[in-house]
Symmetry: C2
Subunit: 457 residues, 2 copies
C-alpha cells in the first residue's frame, strides 16, 4: 500500500517535472529561433542568389552545394551528398495559348498559360476547336465529340473548402491524368483551369504523367481569368484555340540529397528525419514550395547547436533532391536506408508553405497518439497543436523501411498557399519572416520531444 | 423515474438536433459567403476609390455615404446616420527627420519618419542632440540629462511573443505617453522606433495623447531600419538630429456612425451589435485597419438577407465613425444607446485585421462561458473556435449601457498585422480574399448563435 502510494505520488510529480523541463527546453529553442533565426536570410539567399531550381538545372546543383556548405557551417556531426538520378525535363520555350476564332470569326486573344511539368512539346502550332468539361463524367458522356479537339477541363477549386489541400486534391486530378484521359478519345491538346485560389490571372504549372497507352499530347494550365473567359465563351459559342509548347526530356540528371546528421548520444541507431525538398519549378523562386521547408530544416540544426542541445537519438536534416516532377529524392533516401538496414522511427516534413503554423499532423497508431496528444499543450504558446494525420511526399517512402514509422508534416495555415503554389508569384517577398520562423519553432518542438521520449507508446 | 428517464433521453437528443440545425444554418451562411461574398469587392471600392479616411477628411465623409448606400442596397430594415463630433487632426505637411551630426561632424542622413497622430507641429526645424532610452526606468535615472535634447525611445517589439498584440501593448506605451513623459524633463522632441514587426523601413504612425501639464513637443515614429541605426550610433557617439513636423487641429468635425438594422422577430428589444471602424490613418488605405472589419460587417448583413434569415433578436451592423485618434464613434453609439434605454446583450467587433481567423474571443461570466464553449466545435470547419477574452475599442463603451453585456472580438492570425498596421503598406493588395471572407464566416456564425440562443446561461 505504501509502495502504491509512493508510486501514485511519484508518477504525476515526475510527469509534471518532465513536462515542465520540456516546456523550458522548447521555450529556449523558440526564443533562439525568434531572436536569432537565420531561416529568413537563408531563404533570401536560396531564392534571390540561386532562384528557381528544377531537377537537372544548374540552379539545383548550386542549391545542393549551398545547402551542404551551410549545414557544415552549422556544425553538424557530418554532412554528405547522397547521389540521386532525377528526371531532367525542360520547358524549352515560351508556352503559348490563345483563342483564335469565335463562331467562325477569326480573332486572336492570347491567354496566360504554362505547359504542365513533364508534358511534351506540341511540335509547332496546333489550332483546333475547344470542347469543355467540368468533370470526367461529362467527358465520358461526350467522348465521341472529342476527336481532333482541344479539351479544356474547368478544374476550379471549391471555395467552400476551408482546408485548401482538399480542394487541390479534388481539382488536381485533371492536371495529373487529364491529358491522357482526353488523348484516349482523340484530343490533340489539353488545357486546364490553373489549380489556383488567387484573384489574379497567373497560370500555375505542376506535374502530370502520361499514360504510355495514348498519344502524348501537349497540356497547359491557363491563368484563372482567361480560363473563366474561355469557359463562359465555350459554353455558348464555338471557340477555336491555338497552342504551342516545347517541353522535352534530357537524360536523367545527377543530383544529390543533402544529408546532415547529429549523432545520438543514447540511442544512436534510432533515426529521426526532418526535411523538405530542394527542387522547385522553373518559373518561380520556390520560396514557399519548398524553400521554406529547406530553411526551416536548416534552422533547427542551427538552433540545436546554438543552445548546445545534444540529442539522444540520431537526427537527420535532409534536403531532398527532387520532389516536384519525380519524387526521386525521397525514394532514394528510403532505398539507401533500407539497404543500410537503418532503424527509422520518425520523420517530419515541411512542404505546405512557410505560413503561420496551425499544427503538426502526425500519422501513428492509436496507442502512440495517446502519448503524442498529451504533448499538444506544449505547442499552444507558439500557435500550434498536435493533430492526427499528416506526412510529406519525400518522407512517405520510409514506410518501405519501417512500416511502423511515425510520419508527420508541418500544417501551416493553407488559405494563401494555392494563390502562389507553382506560379511565378511564389517568391521571397511573399514569405513572412515571423510566420516562417514560427514554423521552425513548432518543428523543433516535435523533433525535440520525439528525441527525448521516443515513439513507443 | 420514468419521467427522469424521458428527460435524460430528451435533453441530449434535443441538444443534438438543435446543434445539428445550427451547424446546417452556419454551413449555409459559410457557403454563401465563400461562393458569393462581396466583402472583397467592397474593400476594393473603399480602399481604391475612397482611400485613407482620417476623421475630418472628405474621404471619411465619402466613406460614410458609401457605407450607407451599400447597407441600403443589402436591404436592411433601416439604415441611418448617427451624428458624431470627431477630432479633426491634420498632418499638415511632409514630416522630416534626419541625423545632422555625429561626434560634432556635420552630415545629413534623412530618416523615414511619420509624425504621431494628434501631435503638434514643431514650428520650424528643430536641431538637437539625441538621448536614447530603452525604458522609462532608464529615463528616470538620467532625467537631468534630458533638457534641450530629443529623446529617442527604442520601442522595439519583443519577437518572442506569439501574440503580437501583447508585444504591441508593451511597446505601445512609448508612443502614447512617451512625448509628455520626456517633455516633463525638458525634451524638445521625441522619436520612437516604429511599432512594427516588418523587415522593411516603413514608419508606422498612431495616436498619442499630450499631458496638458507639459509642453506639447513634436513626436515622430522612425522607420525600423533608420531607428536601429540611430540607436546603435547613439549608444557610442554624440548624435544630433533635425526634425520638423506640421500637425495641427481644426475644430471638431461633423461625422457619422452608419447604423443598419435587422429587426428581431421574437425579441426585438434585445440588441446584438456587430461592427468595425470606418476611419483610418491618412497615410494608407486602411485596408486591414479597419476596412476589413467594415466589409465583414456588411457581408454578414448581405448574407443573412441572401439566405432569407430572419433574426429573432435585433441585429445592428455599425460602421463606427472614429476610432483611431479619438474613440468618438463607439462612445457616441453607447451614449445614444444609454439615452434611448436600449437593451444591449451582445457586441462583436472586427478590428485586428482581415487575416485568417483563429478564434472569436468572448468576454463573459463563467456561467455564460459554459454555454458558449459548447458551441466552439461549430467553428472548427471554418478554422476557428471560441476562446475566453476579447472585445473591441468601439464596442467597449457599451458596458456603460449594460455592465453585463457580452463583448467579443474576431481574433485573426496576428503575425502579419504589425508589419503594416498604421504604415503606408496597409493597402488592399495585402488583404487576402479567402482570409477576409473566412473572418466574415466566423463572425456570422457567432452572431447567428447569439441570435438563436441569447446570452443567458
Amino acid at each position: 500500500m505504501r509502495k502504491l502510494l509512493i508510486l501514485l505520488l511519484t508518477v504525476p510529480y515526475f510527469a509534471t517535472a518532465q513536462s515542465s523541463q520540456d516546456s523550458l527546453n522548447i521555450k529556449k529553442m523558440a526564443d533562439e529561433i525568434m531572436r536569432n533565426g537565420k531561416a529568413y536570410d537563408l531563404l533570401r539567399e536560396l531564392t534571390k542568389q540561386i532562384g528557381g531550381r528544377l531537377a537537372g538545372s544548374p540552379q539545383q546543383q548550386n542549391a545542393a552545394i549551398w545547402g551542404k556548405r551551410n549545414l557544415e557551417a552549422f556544425q553538424a556531426d557530418k554532412v554528405y551528398f547522397q547521389a540521386v538520378k532525377t528526371p531532367n525535363w525542360k520547358r524549352g520555350g515560351n508556352d503559348f495559348a490563345a483563342i483564335s476564332a469565335i463562331n467562325g470569326k477569326a480573332q486572336l486573344r492570347p491567354m496566360k498559360a504554362l505547359a504542365l511539368g513533364n508534358s511534351l512539346g506540341s511540335n509547332g502550332l496546333i489550332e483546333a476547336e475547344v470542347i469543355v468539361f467540368a468533370s470526367f463524367d461529362e467527358m465520358e458522356k461526350r467522348k465521341d465529340d472529342i476527336k481532333g479537339k482541344v479539351v479544356y477541363f474547368h478544374s476550379v477549386f471549391d471555395p467552400t473548402k476551408f482546408q485548401t489541400f482538399r480542394a487541390y486534391a479534388e481539382s488536381g486530378v485533371f492536371r495529373r491524368v487529364g491529358p491522357s484521359r482526353a488523348a484516349k478519345y482523340g484530343a490533340v491538346g489539353v488545357m486546364i483551369h490553373s489549380l489556383s485560389t488567387a484573384t489574379d490571372n497567373e497560370p500555375h504549372t505542376g506535374s502530370m504523367v502520361y499514360d504510355e497507352a495514348y498519344p502524348k499530347i501537349p497540356a497547359l494550365a491557363l491563368g484563372p481569368e482567361d480560363a473563366k473567359e474561355l469557359y463562359e465563351l465555350s459554353k455558348k459559342l464555338t471557340v477555336r484555340v491555338q497552342l504551342q509548347t516545347y517541353g522535352f526530356f534530357l537524360p536523367d540528371a545527377d543530383e544529390n540529397n543533402v544529408v546532415a546528421e547529429l549523432k545520438g548520444s543514447e540511442f544512436p541507431e534510432e533515426i529521426i528525419t526532418v526535411g523538405g525538398h530542394l527542387d522547385s519549378w522553373d518559373i518561380n523562386e520556390g520560396a514557399h514550395d519548398d524553400g521554406a521547408g529547406i530553411v526551416q530544416t536548416m534552422e533547427i540544426l542551427r538552433t540545436m547547436k546554438a543552445i548546445n542541445y545534444r540529442p539522444k537519438r540520431t537526427i537527420r536534416f535532409v534536403l531532398f533532391a527532387n520532389e516536384e516532377n519525380g519524387m526521386r529524392g525521397g525514394n532514394e533516401y528510403a532505398n539507401q536506408a533500407k539497404m543500410n538496414q537503418e532503424k527509422h522511427i520518425y520523420a517530419l516534413e515541411s512542404d505546405e508553405g512557410g505560413f503561420t503554423p496551425r499544427s503538426i499532423g502526425i500519422s501513428c497508431s492509436k496507442e502512440q497518439w495517446k502519448k503524442f496528444q498529451a504533448w499538444s499543450p506544449l505547442f499552444k504558446p507558439f500557435g500550434g497543436e498536435l493533430t492526427l494525420g499528416g506526412t510529406g511526399a519525400d518522407i512517405g517512402p520510409l514506410v518501405k523501411v519501417n512500416p511502423a514509422i511515425v510520419l508527420s508534416g508541418l500544417i501551416p495555415d493553407s488559405q494563401r498557399y494555392f494563390d502562389l503554389h507553382h506560379a511565378k508569384t511564389d517568391v521571397f517577398e511573399n514569405v513572412n519572416k515571423r510566420e516562417l520562423l514560427l514554423g521552425a519553432v513548432n518543428m523543433a518542438a516535435i523533433i525535440y520531444l520525439i528525441d527525448q521520449h521516443g515513439t513507443n507508446p
